[in-house]
Amino acid sequence: MIDNSKIFANIKSHRIKYKIILTIMAIILLILVCLNMTIGEKNYSLMEVIHTLLSSENNYIIVKLRLPRTLAGIFCGIAFAIAGNTFQTLLGNSLASPDIIGVSSGSTVAAVFCILFLNLNRGLVSFVAVLAGAASALLIYKLASKDGYSTNRLILTGIGAQAFFSALINWMIKKASEYDVPTAMRWMSGNLNGITTDTLPLLIVIVLLALITMTYLSNSLQALELGENYATVLGVNVDVTRSLLILISVVLIAFATAISGPISSIAFLSGPIAGRLCSKNQINTIPAALTGAILVLAGDFIGQNLLPTRYPVGIITGILGAPYLVYLLIKQNKGGSI
């Protein structure tokens, strides 16, 4: 006889733990927002910042520099994180995040081309980046699925595609004029410098919509994680759900990339971290989103204020992510899951 009350008690304590963790993450995020808004070349008190924002006073540093930067950090972080988390869950492998299998670089190639050579405005750039990201995801998937789909083959194909796209990016950066190099460097690691307010509303709307859809779909995603057969038995339309989720993820990646460049490691790191903090047996869309935002803001704060030279956020997150990537690899290789 199974003791039901014990199981329910377990589930309950799980839920409480989940809520506590979410609250703590939200508090950390809030603290980081405050830090990013107040500290910098010129320091303001928190009251000054709040006062400025509420009274629509025209303080250039706060309104035109720090506010867009912080917002972009939060929403790009969320976008990369939930897109990465979805890829990892769908493909059943933490290494299958879009920044490792070449989807992000597909978007980056398009974005770099549009910005450096066509001088398109940001809205159009995002649109083209979305198309290119979707096309490269589709291409990589098609190339990887010959006589049956295999995640291993997908990852290897992705690594090849990544090399191809990086060569294209290098080529364009080399062709760009000398004074575009700082801009170009953004496309190699991700950077929050020079973000203007006009690009933000669209990003925010898209990220929020995606967040809602993904939370809504997370039950189906969880069923998919069990395996396609189980999912079908549970009444999930596997193909539709999978395509929809991948499409949303690609849109998120592409939009965020067009604004901040590919911020390294966020897509790859957030899912596993959230899984470790909460529970591996559920879809952690919200925790992953919070993790992504926290990582980007923390990385940006460290890169801007704590080091002797200013570094773009992508370099800091790349450094933070690298050891974790290697650690994950050691664990995965030892566990024999590849």
């Binding site: 291993n152 290897l156 080529w171 370099i315 690298a322 990537l325 290697v326 290789n333």
Partner: protein, 332 residues
């Protein structure tokens, strides 16, 4: 029959190589004729402009030949000792390791001499290769292609971030590094070649001497042991030769990817896996392909030029994907 095939492969290889050398010397921003080449080579008529053009293009071509041959042979060696069809200096992260060490050298020790570049690149490449290989060998099944490729990609990612940390603060380091990083065989001089040549020749000769042992190792470890082969030693020497070949090239040219992956595969498909023939013909074709990539880069990159590192990645990445597609699912 087989002997014939091999003769044909060699003949075609040498013809292609000679043609590519001629094209590489004649074609460019200023086209020159054959007679100018002869003048340039024998130092006659040195005041003629065309002869000077030729003299400037010769080191580049020779270096391309050596670099292409070195990288292909390094690929052959790495594939044989890891028993892994997709081992290649760029996949294994060796290029990035060499890059990181060179950046550290530029940023902190102000290295300038080419020999220092080569030494430091060798150390970086060796450490990275060992690290990636050991990382991939953890767990069941040893270093399978998928584990090796992912470990290489992961370590490359990690090292790339470190490289940026060193490059970003100092714009002079950034400029030096940006041009080195793309992988170009232009800008080499005769002195560089003379410096490189002893290492390359030594490594190639030693690999040729090892080729019988490498053939035996292909059978199976047990058979090789039973035949009295010291597997560890053979592997170790071959690995060092491979690392020397790719790191010295990388030090002078910057990272050039995928040559070591493409060429050995194509050659192996035609001539089989006799290492002596494999190494020699990979060397010939590797040299030819790198020179052709360089010429293509000059054509496509007009009015400037496109570095051969970019060209080889653009050609090689699709070949890599093709190989992955062709491979049997279980073997990944």
């Amino acid at each position: 029959m087989k002997q014939n095939k091999i003769t044909i492969v060699f003949t075609i290889g040498i013809i292609v190589l000679i043609l590519s050398v001629i094209v590489s010397i004649t074609y460019g921003a200023k086209a020159v004729g054959l007679s100018d080449i002869i003048d340039g080579i024998f130092g006659r008529n040195t005041d003629s402009f065309n002869a000077n053009v030729v003299a400037a293009r010769i080191p580049r071509t020779i270096f391309g030949l050596i670099a292409g041959a070195s990288l292909s042979i390094a690929g052959v060696l790495m594939q044989s000792i890891t028993r892994n069809p997709i081992a290649d200096p760029s996949i294994l992260g060796v290029n990035t390791g060499a890059s990181l060490f060179i950046v550290i050298g530029i940023a902190f020790f102000n290295i300038q001499s080419k020999i220092a570049y080569m030494g430091i690149a060798f150390v970086g490449a060796l450490i990275t290769a060992l690290f990636v290989y050991n990382l991939a060998s953890l767990g069941n099944g040893g270093a399978t292609p998928i584990k090796l490729a992912i470990s290489g990609a992961a370590v490359s990612n990690a090292l790339t971030s470190l490289i940026s940390i060193f490059v970003m603060p100092d714009s002079s380091v950034m400029t030096t590094f940006r041009f080195w990083q793309i992988g170009s065989i232009g800008g080499t001089t005769n002195t560089d070649i003379l410096l490189l040549l002893p290492f390359t020749i030594a490594a190639i000769v030693i690999s040729l001497m090892l080729s019988n042992n490498l053939d035996t190792m292909l059978l199976s470890e047990e058979t090789a042991k039973a035949l009295g082969l010291n597997i560890g030693l053979t592997r170790g020497i071959a690995a060092i030769c491979g690392v020397i070949l790719c790191s010295t090239t990388t030090a002078l040219a910057g990272p050039i990817s995928f040559i070591g992956l493409m060429i050995p595969h194509l050659i192996r498909a035609i001539v089989g896996s006799n290492h002596k023939i494999l190494i020699l013909s990979s060397g010939i074709y590797g040299g030819a392909i790198l020179i052709i990539s360089d010429v293509l880069g000059r054509i496509l990159g007009r009015p400037g030029e496109l570095e051969s590192g970019i060209m080889t990645a653009l050609i090689g990445a699709p070949v890599f994907i093709y190989l992955i597609r062709k491979a049997k699912l279980q073997s990944l």
